[in-house]
Amino acid sequence: MKLCTFLACALLILANAAMAKEAVPMAADVAVEKRMIEISEELRCLVCQNESLAASHAELAEDLRREVRKLIGEGKTDKEILDFMVARYGDFVRYRPPVKPTTWLLWGGPFLLLAGGVAALIAFLRRRVKEEAAPVLSEDEHRRAAALLDQSNS
């Protein structure tokens, strides 16, 4: 009986040890996986253009995720990995393209539209204020109106 307990315990310990051994690379993988997902969320999948590389099921996306994992393994920084992708697929792969002459309109466009809208609003309000301030009838019209009223009263 004692031997049985001992064997069971030994088995349990061994099993634990075996599991623990496997868990180590798993933990490292989780860190790599997390970084890979963080990076690929910044990248567009070129096959299904409205999906991120992290979310896409396209085969190319799988290949590129594998590539990102490999680059992480090689100790590359996030910027180096993004540059790797941009060098091959262009700024279009980035959801946040860099600010440069060709993307000025892209980044500034919304603000340009906003400025235009605000300018139009100001112009509209100013004109309304002016129209309200202006007398409804000119002096000449006043006189004519008075004359007409006199006429009907008499």
Partner: protein, 195 residues
């Protein structure tokens, strides 16, 4: 004063013009950052001759086309007869890059194949396809895992690159070549580079 109400109408027409222009553009045609950059180097096994490899450096001094294709790619099937006809009448070397011939085919579980078996199956499938439809290629290089494809920024087969005598990529054509794109885009570029 009535003209003021024409302003929204005019703005609408301007918008309409922009949208109409937008409709004629292909969102899949992403400009390649590799244009006017050296064609990325690689060394890959050749299809025709076992135990020989192909490298873009072999083409130094020539203007050539690199055509990325695959037997599972439907658009390649549409493009192929045009390439075959073109190769017959032109001296321009067309190099084929067989892209993920086995791995790209979702019907095959490529993970189960050994590298040797994958190479064998790639050769078998690519050769069968070319035997059936004609072979426009002077050389075919086998990119089995698509790694070279990534270096060239391939995101959908077929894609075609025009590479000059110095080994620089001068043009990238995404999607199947059409008689129109061959005549009006690729050939003028080739003529300009061959001078």
């Amino acid at each position: 004063m009535k003209q003021r109400f024409l302003i929204p109408l005019a703005a609408f027409f301007v918008l309409l013009v922009f949208l109409a222009i937008g409709l004629t553009r292909d969102p899949r045609d992403v400009p390649s950052p590799l244009k006017d950059k050296p064609a990325p180097a690689f060394t890959l096994p050749q299809l025709a001759v076992v135990d020989t490899s192909f490298s873009p450096a072999d083409m130094k001094g020539k203007v050539w086309l690199l055509n990325v294709w695959s037997s599972w790619c439907v658009s390649c099937r549409a493009e192929h007869p045009l390439l075959v006809a073109f190769a017959k009448e032109s001296q321009l070397p067309i190099v084929g890059l067989s892209y993920k011939e086995v791995r790209g085919d979702s019907d095959i579980n490529a993970g189960k194949l050994s590298p040797d078996d994958e190479l064998k199956l790639t050769r078998q499938r690519a050769n069968a396809w070319l035997a059936q439809r004609g072979n426009p290629y002077s050389v075919v290089a086998l990119d089995m895992d698509g790694r070279v494809g990534i270096d060239y920024g391939v995101y959908g087969v077929p894609e075609t690159y025009v590479i000059d005598k110095a080994g620089m990529i001068r043009m990238k054509h995404t999607g199947p070549i059409t008689p129109d794109s061959l005549k009006n885009q690729i050939m003028p570029k080739v003529a300009e580079l061959s001078k």
